[in-house]
């Protein structure tokens, strides 16, 4: 079959990926540079039998998404920094009550309303720590338009498999740039569907903290009655303050993600085999990095790149292993230094350098190459 190749924007690829994944619900409130996701889903969803809702604000938008997901929908919302700040309350609720959903953050400069039309990568730590309380989160950072489409499908799959909110972190560059995308047919990609529990309603508990397996979330309206709350709850869903239940519930929220890290993690390595200098870069910055690594190789400097695609949970083991043989690590980021903290924590045996550009402009290959050269000569 001829490939379906289109020129599209990163935001459009996310909308396209959502539809392929079987998304049938969007609620949101438009904000630059994410608005095209809402705009496109507002025309696509009604045509595929789905629902598009523009809510009065970002908090209610995620509330509507969680309600829809409890009803069995594959639901998504999209925003940018200021809106993601507002959504934090419900991100915590989704983590606690284990409701699958996909939340897109097309990052722009901040804090506050910051730089509406200009890119940044300054919400990386917010993705992990934005909502209060101990919890684990999955966050994905695509670096191309094509990857935006496929990673959106993966985000839906992970959200259902692990009953967790999954964040997709792109930025103004990836969100607004247009490039070629190979649009797959639904039958060419793996899609995890919402399933009914394999026990009858009278035997169903919506939570299980000790078996190690994730209990399917029974869609409401199918005869399965259960309680949903943001309070710490037992396996029936009703609030509990028993020490054993608290301990089990808190551990479970972390364990279900971290004990399955090999299934969730995804990364890309470029010329790391013989590298003397490792550049760890993600999202749009990894594109400049790849080019800078090629420039360095041409100049006889053995540079390589490690690129996390799943950024949370962080690929600690890979960084730790790489640091055993590569003693100099550079971390370019469009922020004042966020992921570098994870690198420093995991690459104890290496010297770690930052390159932080916060001008509203992307980091150029020349800037990264200059830094690689400086490090090589040091």
């Amino acid at each position: 079959m001829a490939k379906n190749i289109k020129l599209m924007q990163g935001n459009e690829a996310i909308a396209e990926g959502a539809i392929i994944a079987g998304c049938n619900f969007f609620a949101g409130y438009p904000i630059t540079p994410s608005s095209e996701i809402a705009e496109l889903l507002s025309s696509k969803l009604p045509k595929t039998g789905g629902v598009f809702l523009q809510m009065e604000d970002e908090i209610s938008a995620l509330g509507a998404v969680l309600g829809a997901a409890l009803g069995g929908a594959k639901a998504i919302t999209a925003s940018s920094g200021p809106g993601i700040s507002l959504k934090q309350e419900h991100i915590g609720y989704a983590s606690m009550s284990e409701i699958p959903c996909v939340i897109v953050n097309v990052m722009r400069g901040g804090p506050s309303t910051g730089l509406p039309t200009l890119p940044a990568q300054s919400d990386i730590m917010q993705a992990k720590w934005g909502t209060h309380g101990d919890h684990a989160i999955i966050a994905i950072v695509p670096s191309s338009v094509n990857e935006s489409l496929y990673e959106t499908i993966r985000a839906f799959n992970l959200s259902i498999k692990y009953r967790t909110p999954v964040l997709i972190l792109t930025d103004e560059i990836i969100g607004h740039m247009r490039e070629k995308v190979v649009v797959p047919d639904k039958s060419d990609v793996d899609i995890i569907d919402v399933k009914l529990p394999d026990v009858p309603p009278e035997e169903y508990n919506p939570y299980n903290y000790t078996s190690g397996a994730v209990t399917p979330l029974a869609p409401m309206g199918e005869g399965y009655r259960y309680h949903v709350t943001g309070l710490i709850h037992g396996e029936t869903g009703f609030p509990s303050q028993k020490t054993e239940t608290i301990k089990n519930a808190q551990n479970w929220l972390i364990d279900k993600i971290y004990k399955n890290i090999e299934d969730i993690e995804k990364f890309d390595e470029f010329q790391t085999e013989d590298a003397d200098i490792l550049v760890v870069a993600y999202g749009s910055t990894s594109r400049s990095t790849r080019q800078a690594v090629m420039m360095a190789r041409t100049a006889g400097i053995k540079a390589g790149m490690f690129r996390p695609i799943t950024i949370w949970p962080f690929p600690e083991k890979q960084i730790s292993n790489l640091s055993k043989r590569i003693k100099k690590i550079l971390v370019p980021e469009m922020n004042m230094g966020q992921i570098i903290l994870e690198i420093q924590r995991n690459a104890c045996e290496s010297q770690v350098y930052g390159l932080n550009v916060v001008t509203g402009e992307p980091i150029t290959p020349d800037q990264i190459y200059a830094k690689i050269k400086e490090i090589a000569e040091s």
Partner: protein, 184 residues
């Protein structure tokens, strides 16, 4: 073909420069199976302010998506001409409108000053479509894609009912581009 060719459309918000960039990228990527990336940069205002739309075309995969060494630049305001010309290569070509850009003290590369607004007014009856005329000039001068490819991409991207108007606009651009090429 040179490995990486960089195009920049610059002007003010509302002139349709982003659309011009999308059409060029579409023609190269979809109709000629090259690699192409289109990006844009604009301020928070819906109209006015300086705006640019860039297209990188290459036979190899394109990593950094923005232009840094511009081969071809179109300028449709004085402000954008001054603001965005510094990245133009020594061997680059700058296409400016004769009425909209008058101060060339910052000029770099080879400068083509063309009566695009005047041609639009005289041949289309209004200035709407200036972006498409500029696109036609650029395609003619650069030879980056064929007339057929750019026309196919154009028809796909313009609102229905305006196909003929836009086809006329791009032909004006081809003609102006050919004239300036023959005179240089």
């Amino acid at each position: 073909m040179n490995d990486r060719i960089e195009f920049r459309f610059s002007g003010s918000g509302g002139q349709g420069l982003i659309l011009a960039g999308i059409i060029l990228a579409d023609a190269a990527a979809i109709y000629e199976d090259k690699n192409a990336v289109q990006t844009q940069s604009y301020g928070p205002e819906a109209r006015g302010g300086s705006s640019k739309s860039e297209v990188i075309v290459s036979d190899s995969p394109i990593e950094y998506p923005k232009a840094t060494k511009v081969d071809y630049m179109v300028a449709l305001t004085q402000e954008s001409f001054n603001k965005y010309i510094d990245d133009v290569k020594e061997t680059g070509i700058v296409i400016a409108d004769k009425e909209l850009v008058t101060d060339f003290s910052k000029a770099r590369g080879k400068l083509y000053v063309i009566d695009m607004v005047k041609s639009a007014r005289e041949e289309l009856g209004k200035v709407l479509g200036l972006n498409i005329i500029a696109l036609g000039v650029l395609v003619e001068i650069s030879g980056i894609v064929s007339h057929e490819s750019i026309k196919n991409a154009l028809i796909k991207r313009v609102p229905s009912g305006f196909e003929d108007y836009n086809k006329k606009a791009i032909e004006i651009g081809f003609k102006l581009g050919k004239e300036i090429k023959n005179n240089n």
